[in-house]
Amino acid sequence: MIVWLIIGMAIVTAVPRFLPVFIVDWVSFPKWVDRWLNAIPYAALGALIVPGILNVKPDAPQIGIIAGLVGVLLAWLNVHIIGVVLGAIATVFLLTL
């Protein structure tokens, strides 16, 4: 049963991933669609951060918020992304001691 689950999940995950290769190869988009697609990464980042970060500690959403703000501050100060990640981890660790 789990074998079929894995195969089924693999198919429904892979098809949406590779289908655009065929679409984009056959059509060329007008400029405004290009701008839309170029904005997708920033929009995706926004949608992936909030509200997900509130559930880092589901019973204490403020911990996710504080760690996120520490991340924003570090990134704003041009700290390398590894440093941003480690800083946020350390913040959650210290807040939950």
Binding site: I7, M9, F18, D34, L37, P41, A43, A44, A47, P51
Partner: protein
């Protein structure tokens, strides 16, 4: 002689792209390892075998969906229902892949096809922010090694988690749950600093996502709707400079 020099140059070009790809993938590795370990531990607790745990990571390579599946296996959910839930949760990769391949028009079809199979939230957003590599020679090597770094840490972490069980103290593994969010923040902020309009796009996407979820739409569709509407504001907010960049 000349062809040897050329060959050498080509080799070092490839190698440097691979090295840069791995470096770009390191933050993803840092974020994936603890999450993959946790997945392996939880999955083995629901009675999945080591090979089932690992094969799911090899063939599906989608963290959130795999956690969902483990939860649903534990709850005894039906097969079709689990597959539909996976489709809904992962449909956002269709939108991301459209954006990804549209920027990779200069890369060969046979290279693009396997690259899209490596798209996750994390590999997509990191790749998207390394945009100039798409136009460089051997650009596909850069994206391939970035994605393989992420992929191998996901698969390896799942295997180790399934084999060893709880290897990390709970307080540490819980704290590391913030890693991927921090990585997203670390990717977004430098772009926002360079162009405040990008903040508007991201904030709109956040707002729409929160709104959709508060109206009871599930997480998968909410992220899709938030990403599409937030991205649509880019039609007006992003200028032609952004197109050239």
């Amino acid at each position: 002689m000349e062809s040897q020099v050329l060959q050498h140059k080509e080799q070092s070009g490839r190698r440097s792209m691979i090295r840069r790809g791995i470096m770009a993938g390191l933050p993803i590795m840092l974020g994936y390892l603890p999450v993959a370990l946790t997945y392996g531990v939880l999955a083995s607790q629901t009675g999945m075998t080591i090979s089932e745990i690992t094969w799911m990571s090899v063939l599906v390579f989608a963290g959130a969906a795999q956690f969902l599946a483990v939860g649903m296996i534990a709850a005894g959910t039906g097969l079709i229902e689990m597959i539909i839930a996976t489709f809904v949760l992962n449909f956002r990769h269709f939108v991301m892949s459209l954006s990804f391949v549209n920027r990779l028009r200069s890369i060969a079809f046979r290279a693009k096809l396997p690259l899209t199979l490596g798209l996750t939230d994390e590999t997509f957003t990191v790749s998207a922010l390394y945009r100039k590599e798409a136009k460089e020679e051997f650009g596909s090597y850069f994206y391939a090694s970035l994605m393989l770094t992420a992929y191998l840490s996901w698969v390896g972490g799942s295997l180790v988690g399934g084999l060893l069980g709880d290897v990390m103290p709970e307080s540490l593994s819980e704290s590391m749950g913030v890693a991927l969010y921090a990585m997203f923040i670390g990717l977004l902020i430098p772009s926002v600093k360079g162009n405040w309009r990008i903040a508007c796009i991201a904030l709109l996407a956040m707002g729409v996502n929160v709104l959709c979820q508060s109206f009871g739409l599930n997480q998968g569709w909410s992220i899709v709707v938030g990403t599409l509407i937030g991205g649509a504001s880019g039609i007006w907010l992003l200028d032609s400079e952004e197109e050239k960049a």
